[in-house]
């Protein structure tokens, strides 16, 4: 059961991370709206690697995979290998091809390849549905962490966590819009090592 007390040390750590992320996000904010979501050309190899790695190490991988290991033992490796090995398939079969094609997102590629704006809309809708499914796992993790940290109900914690995430995303910028992924990469490695 979740104890209903406020955990001050994790709260302090999370607060520090959020504040530092906000400051970094504000300092390195991009002023052109075009490159807000995806900007690939202007990012170096090591930086994009760090961004991918910090996306890999999410709430789902820390909480969900630990839970699956608790339930399934050795066979939980299927999940880790599934999505880590998937990076190789993605790179070999798709990434290098669409990079040479000159399009950097799946909807752009589909629209150019089949020369159809309808296909672009379908592709974008599919991408949004996939990320919705992904977000369910992440927000479940956020809700659990906030409920544990503040000792409150799961539903309230979830709403609070979503608000915090929302503010954070708007102010500090989404994926790759700032230096935040690279900083989170370092922080996640430091925290993992200190466990």
């Amino acid at each position: 059961m979740i104890e209903s007390t406020v955990k001050y040390t994790p709260f302090f750590l999370l607060g520090c991370v959020l504040v530092v992320s906000l400051v970094v996000g504000l300092l390195t904010r991009r002023h052109d709206k075009g490159g807000y979501g995806i900007q690939v050309r202007s990012i170096g190899h090591a930086k994009i690697g760090a961004a991918i790695a910090s996306n890999w190490m999410s709430a789902a991988s820390f909480l969900g995979i630990a839970g699956i290991f608790f339930l399934n033992g050795y066979f939980a490796f299927a999940y880790i290998l599934g999505w880590t090995g998937g990076y190789v398939l993605l790179l070999v079969l798709m990434g290098s091809q669409i990079r040479r094609f000159g399009k950097y997102t799946a909807p752009d590629f589909v629209a150019a390849r089949y020369d159809s704006p309808v296909a672009r809309v379908f592709s974008a809708v599919i991408a949004v549905v996939i990320s919705l499914i992904y977000c369910v796992a992440q927000y479940k993790g956020i809700g659990l962490v906030f409920a544990w940290m503040f000792g409150i109900e799961y539903t309230q914690a979830l709403i609070f966590g979503v608000l915090v995430t929302f503010v954070f995303l708007i102010v500090a910028g989404a994926i790759k819009a700032s230096r935040n992924p690279q900083m989170h990469y370092l922080l996640l490695i430091l925290f993992s090592l200190s466990r």
């Binding site: 880590t84 090995g85 990076y87 190789v88 790179l91 290098s96 040479r100 094609f101 000159g102």
Partner: protein, 109 residues
């Protein structure tokens, strides 16, 4: 970098591209690299589970015979650490080879 954008109307030859029948030159070499990477990926990913299943279904052998690496069963270490590092290595290997290939063909042109 993007040849497709420069040619607005691709020729009929360019439209007939088959991954399983690559044309000689750049495409054949690229497809060879892709096949090598995919084979290295598939053998490492599916090899150990198939091997484990064979051991598991063979009554004369037991899982206890599996050697230990760093104090944990070898298959556990293999899936937990080696495969992740192997995937990273494969990505690196593939990128280096593809970069080398495209730069060598860019110079030739």
């Amino acid at each position: 970098m993007s040849q497709t954008n420069e040619q607005n109307s691709p020729s009929r030859e360019d439209l007939r591209i088959n991954f399983f029948r690559p044309r000689p030159g750049f495409m054949r070499k690229e497809v060879t690299i892709i096949w090598i990477t995919l084979a290295a990926w598939a053998i490492a990913t599916f090899g150990m589970p198939i091997h484990l299943a064979i051991i598991h279904n063979d009554p004369t052998r037991t899982l206890a015979e599996v050697p230990y690496v760093f104090g944990i069963p070898a298959y556990f270490w293999f899936s937990g650490q080696f495969l992740i590092l192997w995937f990273i290595f494969l990505c690196f290997f593939f990128n280096v080879l593809i970069d080398w290939l495209s730069s060598s063909y860019r110079r030739r042109r």
